[in-house]
Each structure stands twice: as structure tokens, then as C-alpha cells.
């Protein structure tokens, strides 16, 4: 079966700046694919080539096995740009109608359902809309023709939490309907609920890719622990646990300890059960913590696991 998206050794340069370097990416049919990376990693650069808006400096981009600069390929794709600029002079309704005409959309029932679902007011002028409301218009436009492939660049940017849920539900529906979705984001948790596969991009190179669950298991998680006042802080014992790294006191002689934990937290919780602790928090990992720093340290197992006392110069929060 032809992959929906196939990038082969794709390099994109802007002058001296290399935005993407030798990228190889394959998106099989019928999946939700999370395309992750910090801002500036090259996600939008990739996506614009997938939409035929730009061309690779070298390498090959294929969508449905074809060159996406061919307009007919794009009939099968719904696109939401990362930088969504709508025409200010139109109303929301005119905008959607215009897109529909250009797509040759006949059946507008699903469009109207999406309008309802996202709470879009079609009578309003685009000019007065907030970023989040514009994004909703863009999403309706991308989904309304039920394209085989959806390419959504930072779709939840500016959406409130409720709308993020509506969005994720819509993505799940699309997937159940046999459509595929490429979802870019700089936040792991946004895509992990719906994505079967993820790829992590950093500085124009693929840092990691694979099934979401597997990457999630491999992903590192930061934990903050506050031990009870009279409890000795077992720094060395924590550092010795398999899975712990970057174990450090947040303040010299304080009771608060931070550590990075890879894999299932079972062993950590079992260990902590033998101590009296006041708080245990695990902030939502950002992408850099979860993958990028972790992968920079090399393959799992070769990580340094020595305990560190904070040096005066060290940033205590980090």
C-alpha cells in the first residue's frame, strides 16, 4: 500500500540556514500521526512542502505517491496552516462558502455540523475574530470536505481547553471514518491522546519516531518530591534507582528533590512508600524534557545516574 506521505532525504535550506536536514518520514494510511518538535524545529517547513507551497532543496516529497505541487493531489488533503491568515474583508460564512466552491464541495451537511460543534458564528466578519475563533474557522474548512488526509499545523494554538476537546473528538471521528491526520504540535500531551504514531523533530532532524505508547514509555518525566521535615533526604539512594537521572536538591539542605524518571514510575513509588513525603508532583512534561534532552544524553542506560548537589550557579528550578 502506498504510504500517504513519504519524505525521502529531504533537505530544505533558506540561504545559509538549513531548516531540514536529510529528513526521512513515512506516514502509513489510516493513522493519526503526531509531528512534534519545539518551535523552529522545521515542522511548518515540512508541512508547507507537503502542501506543494514550497519545494525541497534536495530529496523527494510524495503525498499519495504523487508530487504535491500537482493541484489534484491537494483535493484529497485538508490543510490548516500554522500561520492562519484569513481574508479580513469577508464574513466567516463567505470564507467557508468560497473554500467550498474552490473544492467543489456539494454536501454541506457536515460543514454545518462542524460549525455548530465548534461554535462558529458564520455571520461575523473575519476582521473582529480572535486568534482562537479564526483557528476554529480554519478547522471547519479543513474538515468539512472529509478529505482522505488532514494536515494540521499547530491546530490547537489559541483554542480554549473545551475546544481542544472538541477538536480531539473530531480527529478521532475522522480516524474512525478512515481518514488520516498529520498533527503538528510542540506539546506532547496534545497529541498523545489521538496519535497512533509520533515523530519528534529537533533542529531539522528526526530525533525519535515510533508508536506513541512506546515513545511515551521511553519518555522521561520530571518529578518533584518534598520529604517530611525530619526525614533524611535519600539522595544517593534515589540516584541509584534504575530509571532516575538528574537527581538534585532544589535548594541546598532543603527537603525538596527533583529528578527525571524514565519508564514506569512503579519503582519510584515503591521506593517513596518507604519514606515520609509531604508532596509529590509531576508536571506535564514538555517536549524538550521528555525527548530532546533525554535523547541528547544518548541511548537509555548510558545515562549518568550520579546525584548532584546544586552548585550555587545552577538554576534551581531547572
Amino acid at each position: 500500500m502506498t504510504p500517504l506521505i513519504e519524505c525521502t532525504d529531504v533537505t530544505k535550506k533558506f540561504g545559509d540556514f538549513t531548516a531540514l536536514s536529510q529528513l526521512n518520514l513515512t506516514v502509513p494510511p489510516s493513522v493519526v500521526y503526531g509531528y512534534l518538535g519545539p518551535n523552529g524545529a522545521g515542522k511548518s517547513t515540512t508541512i508547507r512542502m507537503l502542501m506543494g507551497l514550497s519545494r525541497p532543496t534536495s530529496g523527494r516529497v510524495r503525498v499519495f505517491g504523487q508530487d504535491p505541487t500537482e493541484p489534484e493531489v491537494r483535493r484529497r488533503i485538508g490543510y490548516l496552516p500554522g500561520e492562519l491568515r484569513l481574508d479580513e474583508r469577508l464574513t466567516v460564512g463567505q470564507t467557508l462558502t468560497s473554500w467550498g466552491r474552490l473544492r467543489g464541495l456539494r454536501d454541506t451537511a457536515y460543514r454545518d455540523e462542524l460549525v455548530q460543534r465548534f461554535g462558529v458564528d458564520v455571520s461575523r466578519k473575519v476582521r473582529g475574530l480572535s486568534t482562537g475563533n479564526r483557528r476554529k474557522v480554519g478547522l471547519v474548512g479543513a474538515f468539512m470536505a472529509r478529505p482522505e488526509l488532514l494536515i494540521l499545523d499547530e491546530p490547537t494554538n489559541g483554542l480554549d481547553p473545551l475546544m481542544q476537546q472538541v477538536f480531539l473528538t473530531t480527529v478521532e471521528e475522522a480516524r474512525d471514518n478512515g481518514q488520516s491526520v498529520l498533527l503538528s504540535s510542540h506539546i506532547l500531551s496534545e497529541v498523545e491522546r489521538v496519535a497512533n504514531l509520533v515523530a519528534v523533530l529537533q533542529d531539522g532532524k528526526l530525533a525519535a519516531s515510533g508508536p506513541t505508547q512506546e515513545l511515551r514509555r521511553r519518555a522521561a518525566q520530571r518529578f518533584h518530591i518534598t520529604f517530611a521535615e525530619d526525614e533524611d533526604v535519600p539522595l544517593a539512594a534515589l540516584a541509584a534507582l534504575d530509571g532516575a537521572s538528574a537527581v538534585e536538591r532544589r535548594r541546598p539542605d532543603g527537603q525538596e528533590v527533583s529528578l527525571t524518571w524514565a519508564g514506569s514510575p512503579d519503582a519510584l513509588l515503591t521506593f517513596l512508600a518507604g519514606h515520609r513525603i509531604r508532596t509529590l508532583t509531576a508536571p506535564e512534561p514538555d517536549l524538550e524534557e521528555a525527548f530532546l534532552e533525554y535523547y541528547q544524553q544518548g541511548v537509555p542506560g548510558s545515562r549518568s545516574s550520579t546525584a548532584k548537589e546544586p552548585s550555587p550557579a545552577a538554576d534551581p528550578v531547572r
Binding site: 493541484p71 500561520e83 469577508l90
Partner: protein
């Protein structure tokens, strides 16, 4: 015209609607006030004096060598400089706004990601500009022709139509120059600069070239010369000049379209 093209066309016209109305109104008012002043000017005899102190070459350069006649008056005050210059500026600004301007603002991003060929989007937008120029030219032509009839001026209707045609084509040509510069990816600013530069240099060659031995050979390079060199108001449509204007426009638009299909669309 198939459905996507007509949709792009409608949107393009809608986008430039306000500026189009403003330009058309301004140029119609200009034309009406120029022609409206004719009866009083003619009766006062002031026009003969106007160019009497000026050397014939210089008077010809500014198109005021025959101000005393009705056609000379129209030429000198409207068709020699003002109308072609303003219509040319309208063409250039409208083209850069609809193509390079919208591209750089990111407003073409979604349109070009739809199942429509990029060359079609750009060509239809050029067509929108041409439509605006034709509409404005027709309105100006109707205003002038109506006044000519009303004031019983000694100007042929065919002459007014001919000079309107060549002036409109001159504007389309400069729209084409701006379009080509955008097509090759130089962006809105350079397109505006280059096309306005061609407009002004073309005028200078056409107006001042005949007075300078050094510039004389270059006069025929000026599109202004193709459009106005043969005084279409008196002598009717200069078919050779029209052919040159059309051919040059087709070449630059084709080149710009070829180039735009092969480059990257700018990121907002």
C-alpha cells in the same frame, strides 16, 4: 470560465472593490473637470497664450503644443501625461496588492493549498486587475465622450476611443511588469519600484527623448511611445503600437506565470 476560476475572480474583485471605486471615481472626476473647463477656456482664448512663450519642442514634450484646438486641449490636459500616469499607478498598485502583497501577508497560503493550480490563481488575479482597468477606462471614456458631444467639441469619437484603448493597454502593460517581478519572487516592494520606474522612465524617454540626440534612438523603446507616439486622438488606433503593447504584456505575464509555478510561496 470554470467554477474555481470564477470564484477566484469574484474574490479578487471583491478584495479590490473599494480601491477600484476610489480610483474610478477620482479619474472620472479628473476627466470631467478637464473637459468641463473647455467651454470657458475656449471662449477666453487663454489657451493660445499658454504655450506661446515655450519652444515648440518643449511644448510637444508636455503635449501642450496644440492647446488651442479641442483635441490638443484634451491631449495636453488629460491623455498626454495625467491619465496614463494615474492609470499606470493604479495598475501597478493593484497588481502588487493582489499578488505579492497578499502572498507576503500569508493570505494566499490557504488558497494555494486548495486544489487549484497556482498559475491559475495568479493569472486570474492579474485578470481582476485588468478588469478594474478596463472598467475605469470605459467610465473615463464615457465621461469624456459624453462631454465632447455635450459641448460640441471638435474631437472625433473614434479618436477618444482610440486613445482610451492605448492608454488602457499601457496600464495593463505596467501591471504585467509588476506581475512578472512578483512572479520571479522579488516581492511586493521591488515589484512596485520596478514597475513604477518603468512607467516614469518610459514617460521621460517619450517626452524628453526627442529633444536629446543621445536619447533619440531610445524613444522607440518606451511603451509610452507605442501608445501615444502617433497621436491616436487625431489619427485613430495605432495598430503597430497596440500590437507591441499587447505582445510585450503577453510576454511579461507569461514569464511571471512560468516563474511563479516554479518557486516557493513566501511564508507569512
Amino acid at each position: 470560465m470554470s467554477s474555481p476560476s470564477s470564484e477566484i475572480f469574484r474574490r479578487g474583485v471583491q478584495i479590490q472593490q473599494r480601491t477600484l471605486i476610489a480610483w474610478s471615481a477620482a479619474l472620472v472626476v479628473l476627466a470631467l473637470s478637464v473637459v468641463g473647463a473647455w467651454p470657458s477656456m475656449e471662449s477666453s482664448g487663454a489657451l493660445e497664450d499658454f504655450s506661446s512663450g515655450v519652444s515648440p519642442d518643449v511644448a510637444a514634450a508636455f503635449g501642450i503644443d496644440q492647446l488651442g484646438s479641442a483635441s490638443g486641449y484634451l491631449k495636453g490636459n488629460l491623455y498626454a501625461v495625467l491619465l496614463p500616469l494615474l492609470l499606470g499607478l493604479m495598475a501597478v498598485t493593484a497588481t502588487t496588492a493582489l499578488t505579492g502583497g497578499d502572498e507576503e501577508a500569508g493570505r494566499l497560503e490557504l488558497l494555494l493549498a486548495l486544489p487549484v493550480a497556482r498559475r491559475r490563481v495568479f493569472l486570474v488575479r492579474f485578470l481582476c486587475v485588468t478588469f478594474g482597468l478596463v472598467l475605469t477606462s470605459v467610465l473615463v471614456w464615457l465621461s469624456v465622450y459624453g462631454s465632447v458631444v455635450a459641448f460640441d467639441m471638435d474631437v472625433s469619437g473614434g479618436g477618444v476611443a482610440a486613445v482610451t484603448l492605448t492608454v488602457a493597454l499601457l496600464a495593463v502593460l505596467h501591471a504585467g511588469v509588476a506581475y512578472a517581478v512578483v512572479g520571479f519572487g522579488f516581492g511586493r516592494g521591488p515589484a512596485l519600484g520596478v514597475a513604477a520606474g518603468v512607467l516614469v522612465v518610459g514617460y521621460l524617454l517619450h517626452a524628453i527623448g526627442p529633444m536629446s540626440d543621445a536619447l533619440k534612438p531610445l524613444v522607440n523603446v518606451s511603451p509610452w511611445e507605442w501608445a501615444l507616439g502617433n497621436d491616436p486622438l487625431l489619427d485613430g488606433v495605432p495598430w503597430g503600437g497596440v500590437a507591441l503593447l499587447v505582445a510585450f504584456s503577453v510576454v511579461v505575464v507569461a514569464a511571471g506565470t512560468y516563474a511563479v509555478d516554479r518557486r516557493d510561496i513566501k511564508n507569512a
